[in-house]
Symmetry: D2
């Protein structure tokens, strides 16, 4: 009811505040018999971890995951997996001056209105630190998807005004991670880096666009009419901090085409498999996978925390000037990549299990 | 599990195939004591109904709603409301030639892969006829929202290449409905009409973009971290047939801005209320309403059913040519307006009730 | 949230008031590909139907079920099945004198307190007429269970002071239905009948105990720790009108034994299958089926509606005398048999599908 | 789906194996603004803790609870509360000889059949140690119920053949805890103690019956038709390890009465409040509270683990003799008292919040 759970069969429950003792997640519905250890999860957390490069916050967190339940002798038991990550560099006192201030385009005001009180330390649970739990759970989901032959990867397509040429990849994790900005097109990544440095000097920030592609989904995943696969993916991605838009396949661009140009003709593969000649559908038709690669894009707004002074109000409604002092990312997109991948994996793993009950 | 339910407290369950006896919905969780009759629902169904203008399918359906339960002496009892709409112009035999054909960019192939069998008559439950149930339920949700002082309206911003000037309204239902294409800008509506006529002559179809605005939501609605209000809205809208993209507030466009330009400064109203100077947030911050108008846009792909011949395959994978003969919309956007409004109302009504349990 | 849905994967949503136009149910999650028609459902409804014998209410209802969706060419589509049963002998006006009276041990007072208004006609949705929807849905569940080789039957063990010898059967439906009181022990059935006739002459009513047995469940169904199979069965049975107690296996009696006498020793069958020598566990250990027959008993209170005058109060709290005039059962147990079976089938079918997702 | 969650609005998710690092629970849906600290929870855990008396297992666990999230400055934030209890005296190696043995009337065999593998150490998650998490969560629920004026207590009515005189109390926690067997009738408690000592000498065990009473519930809690309050209570209690039966109000005994004797006449209190003259209904009518005390009884089977040798089989189906060596309770009832109370509180707290959405 309070929105901290996600999924239907492969279902996660996250908890933890940004500057509390831990961030964590309980994964319920993980099938029994999966080989799993912390080593399967840690690499994804390392990708999301702060302090990886000059472009991300300098908060020092090792983000070491510990599995507290659900495993015995290296295999999942079918019981809940509880994963926790300690907050080591928690500094709640840093935020005392912000206790009664509503930072622009942050969730301070709205959480206060919702609950009547709030954890002002680093945004409490409104902080992007919450997404560490998603990434941990997503790593487990991805391992299960591996059993189905599904692979997925996301990358940065544009930061502010700097974009790479439009392209649906696929790009491997190695190609994406070659540059710390997680743009697989080297020249564009350099331009993005230069642009971000300029913004940082100015005390400003940028947003941008992420692409994601999934290969290997069999046809039949997705549950019309409300839990269409792209609708569930949309919700999953839009629930990530700072995400403002989601589109699948041809998306907003496709609305300029006529039907005759937009429709994906069915053809028979050389190996007899039915596929489509184009993929404007983004691998999903009527809310169900058709066996083609899944394709979607997501918009992330510019980071709200900036060094430039901004006018705002405090709890009493008095005018104040806000100037950020803490440790913050000038651009969230590179660190959002593992989060986008995690949410995608969570949706797909859940739908893979749901499909097991569709036929007699 | 099969995706036919929506909402958590105000929860709907829809049923019915396009050419079966009825389309229907059970609404569970409607609070007791709401004055309600068919007359509250019928006008919204009339807006969605086919055969309203030259731009929509010629299928003849009166779409008369009947309330089968949950009402006594004109008030809701707190028990489930079952609403049914008869399919009077059902012609399943019309679709016999399509029984084994996979129409391009339709859900024929994917439903077959999912369930192993399918209702080929007009797409069965993959048909947009299913949305009549949503509109009926949405009318009830809207009536409850009226008690909170919430109003909402959607309109057509662009059809194919013809757009009205960008603008967040608000537009009243009367302004929207003045032109059958539901674009409140008369000159643009005329251009759209001309464009659609040309496409119809060519046997082709168009997509476009819809805007929606909600006024009067109090601050505090929305459930982080996964059920952020814009994430739930996104899922709701993306679950509508043909919808391929969703964005809230500044959306994809906003990603070109820097943080200093994008942030919404808090100010105090003349009446002491806290509001924001701009509304790039689209009325939602951290997934929770902030009291400003909710703003979002949605992309709808061009109609898949066209008169122009298209190449495809049948169940056996043999090449076939598909030419639509049935009764179909050349553009779904005008009829999607009441559906977008209904899904929006369903999400908001549910969150209004959820908020009742947030505080001690 | 309002308690009108049951099940997780095989999930039902019921609706309808006792004297409204229909009683109905939407079944969501029925796997695609099940051969199904009204003929599979009607016999179970006929067993529950009023007016079958001298011992049940004289309300005349044919209880003809109609499937409104989810079927094509005789097979389930995987989409929601909507089943409706018309209320033909609805006589809401019969209850006008009871509009403001709170009948003893009925739900009049509590519904009023809950919702602030209520449907006073025959109890509205608090009436046992609501269970027709359960029986209809249960028939579908039973058909699916048949594919797993599961069979189940319930029977009347005791009515008031008249009991058959304790025995776990099994009894076939034919054996149970031989006597209209649904007690498979003929002499006891006759004593029950005589006792009921005496009570009817006195204007009084009786309760009693029902036994149920399920054969053929494979080991592995049930979901600890909260959705243990007997816990879900207990909730299912306790949710039937007038049910006041539930026990599984040795139940309350077994608490007099010591562990050494109560424990069920495991042995190996002649065909190598592991089974238990006794079945105090009632086929469920740790909340999961062990392959032995499921056994449980349920207590039903005496019918609240009696002809004898009773003192009560009205809405204003004034003393009144209540004397039943309507059409009512002197004993609900015979008609509760198909309801107990239906709820049992619903629980088991749901858990059968849940088990499909337990292992990698 | 895997049965580790309970509740709808006030919802808990438990995790942890008996001999893993922790037992824990995430509570989601706790309203914001509740004063809460570990000191509110620890006393309930201390009541359930092993090693309290000669009648309980000698496993040494302090069961110290730690709140990992959801609290700031002593008040709940409205975000998930994660509570963990370390397993300090975990001795997984103690159970190695039992790895492949199916203990009689334990869950070893069924868990193996369900998941294909299992944690053999002390039963893993099938162990009653799991209930520590329920007790911790129940303490939070009870604190919320305190705001509504609700109080509740359970006590031991019978152990094996030794019973106290039948009586619905109420008994305060102090009265119940006066004797370590948690029977508030001193002479009966002594007989129970003597009986248990005899059984222990014989290497045997006992079951029994617990009563529970709740005072102060306002009318209107409970959600017909499936989530009737006593049905939800029944499920809650039946989901506790070793529970085999549940009855509310007059229960099984009441089925011997006629309607005229069983019905609870409504009367008006001296202060104008409507109440019933008797309480065979156990405070619940039609599944909804009527303002009278809630009354129920629960049956707990004799402890399955006994020192006496028992015949069983191992994984390969070979005959084996099982003799318990570990640390186990000869009778679970005294320690089940706080668990029964916790589950009752969880159900009531959830329904209290659900009722907030029943009316316009």
């Amino acid at each position: 009811m309070r929105g901290n759970s996600f999924g239907r069969i492969f279902r996660i429950h996250t908890f933890g505040e940004s500057h509390g003792p831990v961030i964590g997640v309980v994964i319920d519905g993980c099938p029994a018999g999966l080989a799993l250890s912390e080593a399967d999860i840690q690499p994804d957390l390392d990708r999301r971890r702060p302090g990886q490069s000059a472009y991300t916050t300098s908060r020092q967190e090792e983000d070491t995951v510990r599995i507290l339940s659900g495993i015995r002798d290296g295999f999942t038991l079918g019981t809940p997996l509880a994963l926790v990550i300690e907050n080591r560099d928690a500094r709640p006192a840093d935020y005392d001056p912000l206790r009664d201030v509503y930072r622009p385009s942050h969730a301070d005001f709205t959480w206060m209105e919702k609950f009547g009180l709030r954890d002002s330390s680093g945004g409490g649970r409104a902080s992007a630190r919450e997404t560490a739990a998603r990434v941990a759970a997503g790593a487990v989901a991805r391992k299960i998807l591996g059993e189905y032959g599904v692979t997925l990867s996301a990358w940065v397509e544009r930061i502010g005004r700097e974009a790479m040429p439009p392209d649906w990849g696929p790009y491997s994790r190695e190609e994406v991670d070659r540059h710390p900005l997680r743009c697989p097109h080297p020249a564009s990544a350099e331009s993005m880096a230069a642009y971000l440095e300029q913004l940082r000097d100015e005390g400003d920030s940028a947003g941008g666009v992420i692409r994601c592609r999934v290969d290997g989904c069999p046809p039949g995943w997705g549950e019309p009419v409300f839990d269409k696969l792209h609708a569930d993916l949309g919700k999953a991605i839009l629930s990530i901090n700072a995400c403002k838009g989601f589109e699948t396949g041809s998306g907003f661009e496709g609305t300029w085409l006529t039907g005759s140009r937009h429709n994906d003709a069915f053809v028979r593969d050389e190996d007899g498999r039915i596929r489509t000649a184009t993929n404007h559908s983004g691998g999903i038709q009527g809310g169900i996978t058709n066996g083609m690669p899944l394709l979607f894009r997501a918009a992330f707004k510019p980071v709200a925390t900036i060094r430039l002074p901004q006018s705002s109000v405090n709890k009493e409604g008095q005018s104040v000037i806000v100037e950020a002092k803490g440790r913050h990312d000038p651009c969230v997109l590179p660190r959002a990549i593992p989060i986008v991948e995690a949410m995608t994996a969570l949706v797909l793993c859940d739908h893979a299990l749901r499909q097991r009950t569709a036929r007699l």
